[in-house]
């Protein structure tokens, strides 16, 4: 009898499973950070986690609220300057996977974290790209984790902050890129991977209890499904325990800082 769990727990755990023990992962803050640390605390104890604040091979006991919490530096193998991080480690091609999120995504996994509405007269001014534009093109491949809704999964982005598969097909190659771009998109409903030809993000795995109708209703484009769609394995008690302990430690630590 499987333990009860929340959709966002399924999402975080499914994303964690995508990481390998041998990966060098450039970690975004928030959900990517949670998933990366669940991976480190379960099946990938030797994974190298890198945060753009300069911390390399960090092993935080609690999740950082910001990209540069002291916890990341205290538990890192080494901490380098931000220019070194972006020049030698990211641009240098030393990262196997970049793990990021976004505010809006399109069917080719291009991301928008810049504006809703027009750039000059935005309805909502979002924080901006930060490291994402170069993470998206310099890492060996990209994993994306995002909750699904019609507001965030849109047919056309208001602004392309970071490149996914562009207009599909050989878009990335035509721009001179040799990196793979987004190879996995994990949501609270399903797991998407790019179609081998069109590069459109395609559902390959549906989380237990989720229907295709739910996925379609929360996506702003007609969703494509792989020929054989599987069911995502439910979170194991160990995975759930690790995630919940991590979140509890984090809540205690951030509360105490008040």
């Amino acid at each position: 009898m499987a333990e009860a769990y929340q959709p966002n727990e399924m999402m975080t755990i499914a994303a964690a499973r995508a990481l390998r023990n041998s990966d060098v992962c450039f970690v975004g803050i928030g959900l990517p950070s949670a998933a990366s640390n669940v991976a480190r605390l379960t099946h990938a104890p030797d994974i190298t986690l890198i945060y753009e604040s300069g911390t390399i091979a960090t092993k935080p006991d609690v999740l950082p609220l910001s990209i540069g919490d002291g916890e990341l530096c205290d538990t890192a193998l080494t901490t380098v300057t931000v220019p070194e991080m972006f020049r030698y480690w990211l641009q240098g091609g030393r990262i196997t996977v970049g793990f990021i999120g976004g505010a809006q995504i399109d069917r080719f996994a291009n991301l928008n974290t810049t504006v809703v509405g027009s750039y000059d007269k935005p309805k909502v001014r979002l924080p901006g790209g930060g490291g994402a534009p170069e993470i998206a093109t310099s890492c060996g491949e990209i994993f994306i984790i995002m909750s699904q809704s019609k507001r965030s999964f849109v047919s056309k982005l208001d602004f392309i902050t970071s490149l996914g598969h562009g207009e599909g097909g050989d878009s990335r190659a035509r721009l001179g890129l040799k990196t793979k771009g987004p190879t996995k998109l994990v949501t609270d409903l399903a797991v998407f991977e790019p179609d081998p030809q069109t590069r459109e993000m395609t559902v390959v795995s549906i989380h237990p209890g989720v229907t295709r109708e739910q996925i379609d209703a929360n996506t702003g484009w007609p969703v494509r499904y792989a020929p054989s769609v599987v069911e995502t394995p439910t979170p194991t008690p160990q995975e759930l325990g690790v995630l919940r302990d991590l979140n509890a430690r984090t809540a205690r630590a951030h509360g105490e800082a008040a």
């Binding site: 803050i29 928030g30 753009e52 604040s53 300069g54 911390t55 950082p64 609220l65 910001s66 990209i67 540069g68 919490d69 002291g70 990341l72 530096c73 901490t79 300057t81 931000v82 220019p83 991080m85 972006f86 020049r87 990211l90 641009q91 810049t114 750039y119 000059d120 935005p122 309805k123 909502v124 001014r125 979002l126 924080p127 901006g128 790209g129 930060g130 490291g131 994402a132 534009p133 170069e134 093109t137 310099s138 602004f159 392309i160 902050t161 970071s162 490149l163 562009g166 878009s171 990335r172 721009l175 001179g176 890129l177 951030h254 509360g255 800082a257 008040a258």
Partner: protein
């Protein structure tokens, strides 16, 4: 050669209306106390430069000190929007704010180019994205050796860099450690530099030969402001006050609550108000 000054005198001397100012700190060692002093002195028409503008820039923008922001990520980390930044961009309150927007890689490279006295930075970036469409300071350059097309942005050369560090010694050299971000690059790229420190020591004592140290002749003025990075943190002194970052969201959301908070906590206070944050963690450590 740097001089020890009280914070108010240091800001008075180093920072003028209309300056391009980089108050740097990549989530760590953010010069909050210095920023508050700039607000108290009512500096105007500043161009604010920073990779990760957060609360202190939200406050400067909301108090009408800035006319332009050069940045790569403007949010409250892990919490959400900077509401004063958004109000300025979306509604022009209290005044319009021009944006020059980059990626982190571009800003980091541009500071390094500034420190290296180069006119521009060259890197592999901005591929397949829209920022070059809205920022005329992003251009392409062709490598003369390989023919590869690369991104180019102008070097950052602030009039003033403002940073917070752990220590200065009696000879006015400055030491910082932990997440050191782009602070050294910003100071060396700037015409003038103001550094606030947690403490002034007789001698830095035993340390790694690779410790980040700014020699006194690279800094214009040093002010000792214990706790001066709060609510960010000072590695080895006090932790990031994550609860404060969360609380800021509600304070900054409305203009009235923001202005009332600024009056009570900035305009009617001085740099000594920061000492409680340094002291509190000392007590906690005992």
């Amino acid at each position: 050669m740097s001089r020890f000054l009280a914070l108010a005198e240091a800001v008075e001397e180093v920072l003028r209306d209309g300056d391009a100012v980089a108050m740097e700190g990549f989530t760590h060692l953010i010069p909050h106390a210095a920023g508050h002093e700039v607000i108290r002195q009512r500096r105007k028409r500043l161009t604010l430069i920073r990779m990760t503008p957060d609360l202190i820039y939200d406050q400067l923008i909301g108090m009408g000190c800035a006319e332009k922001l050069i940045f790569s990520w403007g949010g409250n980390p892990g919490v959400g929007s900077l509401h004063r930044l958004r109000d300025a961009v979306e509604n022009g309150w209290p005044q319009p704010l021009a944006l020059e927007e980059h990626s982190h890689a571009a800003m980091a490279n541009a500071y390094e180019a500034g420190a290296a006295n180069l006119p521009c930075a060259v890197f592999r970036g901005y591929i397949g994205v829209e920022l070059p469409r809205v920022n005329p300071n992003i251009k392409r350059i062709t490598c003369p050796f390989t023919g590869e097309e690369l991104a180019a942005v102008p070097a950052l050369r602030p009039d003033v860099a403002v940073v917070h560090a752990q220590k200065a010694d009696r000879a006015a050299n400055v030491l910082f450690e932990g997440i050191v971000g782009v602070q050294k690059q910003a100071v060396l790229a700037a015409k003038r530099a103001l550094v606030t420190v947690e403490e002034i020591v007789d001698d830095f004592g035993p340390r790694s030969p690779n410790t980040v140290i700014l020699p006194s002749w690279t800094v214009s003025a040093i002010a000792c402001v214990p706790g001066g990075a709060h609510p960010s943190y000072a590695h080895g002194y006090y932790k990031r006050d994550n609860a404060y970052y969360k609380a800021w969201d509600a304070i900054a959301r409305e203009r009235d609550t923001f202005l009332a908070w600024m009056k009570a906590n900035v305009l009617e206070k001085g740099p000594e108000a920061f000492a409680v944050h340094a002291r509190r963690s000392q007590i906690a450590a005992e």
